[in-house]
Symmetry: C2
């Protein structure tokens, strides 16, 4: 079996990632994989955004999940955190625990990871690989821990706090597709949303100075918008009918199921953000430029309002467990 060092080199140490002391004038990465730590040179005038996600087999993805898709998704959820901060993703570390040194799995995972990393100019700067199976024990679960680092110009980062009463609430793309794939497998388009989500990195960067608050949809629209409201000390009214959803979700006859997917379904990795009404024109233009639908779904209110979702008749809805948590 190849050693840990050999595996790291073969799949994750890509030339020319490493350079030697004395040869480090032009590169953002002074030293990558292969020393006790990576060395980075943050750009002047930038703040550094840092986020960590831990993914466990059996909890965050099913045993036997496709390795290439997993490599994509593990990085995508971290890129989505950068998007929600308005940060440009730059560097990532990757810690992996595997039940055994499975080269086919590693090749697939690295393929999915680097294909996405290269699209956004993210460099893998370090990591840790571990055998997840203690001697004589049952095979352990796959563990993936990624830390991502991004840069954002000073004072331009997007926060959960900052939404003001009167601001519009916007959602990118569509909601509920990933959760549909989780509950009703078999539709390839919806499964792609679940297994290979598209992080809204460009949108996040363009929302700097435009949005007053932002978050990405990982736990479900209601819960994640709830985080914005809590941090902003604000409430909100959302029109359920205006929430964007794919045809596969729209066609679900069971209204409660459909509402649960749209309001509480996680894993879509769209951005939910607030912006002043005066910026509607700019957001419409941005939507056209990025070829990414941006839907205006409601309005921020004062702190006494909390989160109200109104049905087609203007009546407050109560939907599912995740949503109840934020109901009055």
């Amino acid at each position: 079996m190849p050693s840990e060092f050999e595996l790291i080199r073969k799949y994750f140490e890509r030339a020319p990632r490493e350079i030697r002391p004395g040869d480090r004038r032009t590169r953002r990465v002074a030293l990558g994989i292969g020393d006790d730590a990576a060395l980075l040179r943050p750009s002047a005038g930038m703040e550094l955004a840092v986020s960590t996600d831990l993914l466990l087999e059996g909890t965050h993805f099913r045993a036997g999940a496709d390795a290439r898709k997993l490599g994509h998704k593990a990085l995508a959820v971290n890129l989505s955190d950068m998007a929600a901060m308005g940060a440009a993703p730059r560097w990532a570390t990757l810690a992996l625990a595997l039940p055994a040194a499975n080269e086919a799995w590693l090749a697939g995972f690295a393929g999915g990871f680097f294909a996405l990393a290269d699209r956004f100019g993210v460099e893998l700067i370090g990591g840790d690989t571990t055998r997840a199976t203690p001697q004589g024990a049952e095979p352990g679960a796959i563990v993936i821990c990624i830390t991502i680092l991004g840069e954002v110009p000073r004072s331009l980062a997007l926060f959960r706090a900052g939404a003001q009463p009167g601001d519009d609430i916007w959602v990118s793309g569509e909601l509920g597709g990933a959760a549909l794939a989780l509950t009703q497998p078999g539709n390839a388009a919806m499964e792609k949303r679940l297994e290979e989500p598209e992080p809204r990195v460009e949108l996040g960067e363009r929302l700097r100075g435009l949005a007053s608050a932002a978050i990405d949809v990982s736990d479900g629209f209601a819960q994640d918008l709830g985080h914005i409201l809590e941090r902003s000390g604000a409430g909100a009214v959302v029109e359920y009918a205006s929430l964007p959803r794919p045809a596969e979700v729209k066609n679900i006859a069971d209204e409660n199921l459909q509402a649960g997917l749209v309001l509480c379904g996680g894993d879509d990795y769209e951005l939910v953000f607030a912006a002043p009404q005066a910026r509607r024109g700019e957001l419409a233009a941005l939507s056209a430029e990025l070829k990414l639908p941006l839907s205006r779904v409601g309005a921020i209110q004062g702190a006494d309002a909390r989160l109200q979702v109104l049905d087609g008749q203007g009546k407050p809805m109560r939907v599912g467990h995740g949503f109840d948590h934020f109901a009055p």
Copy 2:
């Protein structure tokens, strides 16, 4: 059971870690736990050192390990990576997976983590907590993933590469104690070395501009010195008798066992470094100032020599499996 959000707040979100937009002039951390990412403001003229370690129950620590000691050790191994780079540790992220929300465990772990973090001024800036037990499954293993970020003045970081023929080889503290505790439990002093290692952070910072190459001893002296040699394109001669070891190791009658512990025992988290002979006086003074023994154990040689460990009669030794890997 408390939710993920409640647990994060209770044990890991320490005031005044979070500040709001507009109130961020004087702090190094613009925004900590509680948003999509942490925001840092690296100091001007500094490079950023980044390292990630993944610790698994059953592999890196035994089931039932004391939570407070684990909180110490999980951070200590990361601080040790900063020390080996000559970086001052500043920030950390922590991802945790637990079989269940065990508050006593969390309180212990956070206690050990923060006691060490506070000694070195490290701020916990973000993280992720996860239930390691899928619905209906056996309890999953505890997973701890820490990413540490430190700062080092430009061009002063310590690398594995850089050792020059003629340089002395130095070791801090003592070797083999942690491995002894692993193979023969029962001695409290040795168990403390294994379970609560002391990262050589101050030494690492003081070695800037003094050492030509450095690494920390996580996998064993021979293997870790081997990484310096490989990256530096160098060989080395080490005098076995000069390798520092605690009395508990020195008193082991079985010479092979003793040599295995000293040369191949991991987890000591001492620093091994190379330095020009001209710096011996400075290193002696530094050792006295830090009250930390620094032992001169050998010399760097040309690339054709590889690693030779000489016994008391000046004869090359062959010791254990980890060492064989680097033997000629």
